[in-house]
Amino acid sequence: LATAVGEGTLMIEDAHLGSGAPADNDPTAVWLKQAKAGDASAFEQLILLHQRQVLTTSLRLLGDLKDAQDASQEVFLRMYKYLHRFQEGREFPPWLYRVTVNVCRDAQRRRQRTATVSLNDLVESGEMREPASSTDLEAELSLAEKRSFVKEALKRLPEKERAAVVLRDIEGLSTREVAGILGSSEVTVRSQVSSARMKMKLFLERRLKRRS
């Protein structure tokens, strides 16, 4: 048991997201079985294994750490409530991603923090049609600025495009996995991802132009 706990703790940073059936020695499967039987410490190990996935995804979808923590708490409590419904042999991370996306979508709708102008509005109004010169953005911006701009751009994306681009480009999932998590087709995901990439590019160029 101690070995399994150690492995689980070490895997916090890189919970696997690969496709296919989980391996027999998959720590998630071990803890899942015990957590289903009502073992609270096994459930805590499941949280340790997947907290990075849940909290960072929530943070990128919501753009605020406190909101992301609240959403992550809700995700894990839903996981606790519906754990018995999860069929053994299926992959756990995609299921958890789906719960996370749903909880964040609900949180987003509840808080209705849409006072900021969306990227859609900026593109349609023509404010973002003027591209910046072919400047190397990475060279121009500091690391903190880069991150803040990207976060702002993400916040302004439409809900579905944001979810698609976070899962595909930041979490590094395949288009097929993203489609499975969002419950849509691969064609739709590709369309959402390409639209989001172009909007974010325009937003970042605009920011850079304003800064210089």
Binding site: E138, L141, L204
Partner: protein, 249 residues
């Protein structure tokens, strides 16, 4: 060629999201179009910024805050459950297929038992609403008039052909067991009920007159004629017992 229409494909090509044939087409176009090449490079730059966000992680304290809050809530929910459920739930979770199979067997057995209990026995049964009637004594009929078919309801003040009675009269000879089944507080002499039962009579047919008993055997008194009066009120049934032996004498 309209380069604007290719932007979406270039956005997908930048991260390897295009199928090979479309990717080859975009690649060839990029080699020949400076404008699209610039767009592609800008897109790559912005994508590298987006991807860099994956390296940013919240501080470890943020993770532990969430975990502690969740575990507090989990323990509170576990303690809120009844003790018997806390004991049973691990076993239920572990042996779920076995429990499901046991429940299925139990349901099947219950269904079988229910079917056996409620199935009607195959033997002769006194109908719920008997219309078998005893033939009236011959001397009661007036000469020349046809004998009344007392299987039909008798309505006071009306002819028997009327089908809208307020009170219906049925008469039959009942076996003592049938009388017992009525379970009505009828004030009847016990001797009359302990009389030997009549031979089985088919429904709808009048009773055949009994053959005369041998001379050296004292005939047993016939069972009483039972007249059942059914009123409109289902709770009121009037049973009228007539000693046939006295009547004949």
């Amino acid at each position: 060629m309209n380069c604007k229409s290719l932007e979406e494909s270039i956005a997908l090509y930048a991260q390897g999201d295009l199928d090979p044939s479309r990717a080859r087409y975009v690649e060839l176009h990029l080699k020949s179009c400076a404008s699209c090449q610039r767009f592609f490079k800008e897109l790559e730059a912005s994508q590298s910024l987006v991807k860099a966000l994956a390296d940013e992680l919240p501080d470890p304290a943020s993770f532990s805050i969430v975990r502690q809050r969740v575990m507090q809530e989990v323990k509170r929910r576990q303690q809120a459950r009844p003790a018997w459920w806390r004991c049973l739930s691990p076993a239920l979770a572990q042996w779920r297929p076995a429990w499901a199979a046991a429940l299925a067997v139990l349901v099947a057995f219950g269904f079988l038992l229910h079917w056996q209990l409620w199935r009607k026995p195959a033997g002769p049964e006194v109908p719920d609403n008997p219309r078998i009637a005893a033939a009236p004594p011959a001397q009661e009929n007036s000469a020349g008039s046809p004998a009344r078919d007392i299987t039909e309801p008798i309505v006071p003040g009306q002819q028997s052909s009327s089908r809208e009675p307020t009170t219906r009269l049925f008469a039959r000879q009942l076996k003592p067991s049938a009388l017992d089944r009525l379970a009505l507080p009828v004030d009847v002499e016990p001797e009359s009920l302990s009389a030997e039962p009549e031979p089985e009579v088919e429904q709808g047919s009048n009773l055949e007159p009994e053959p005369p008993p041998p001379a050296d055997v004292i005939p047993e008194p016939p069972p009483p004629l039972v007249i059942k009066l059914i009123t409109d009120d289902p709770n009121i049934i009037i049973i009228w017992l007539v000693d046939q032996d006295i009547q004949h004498n």
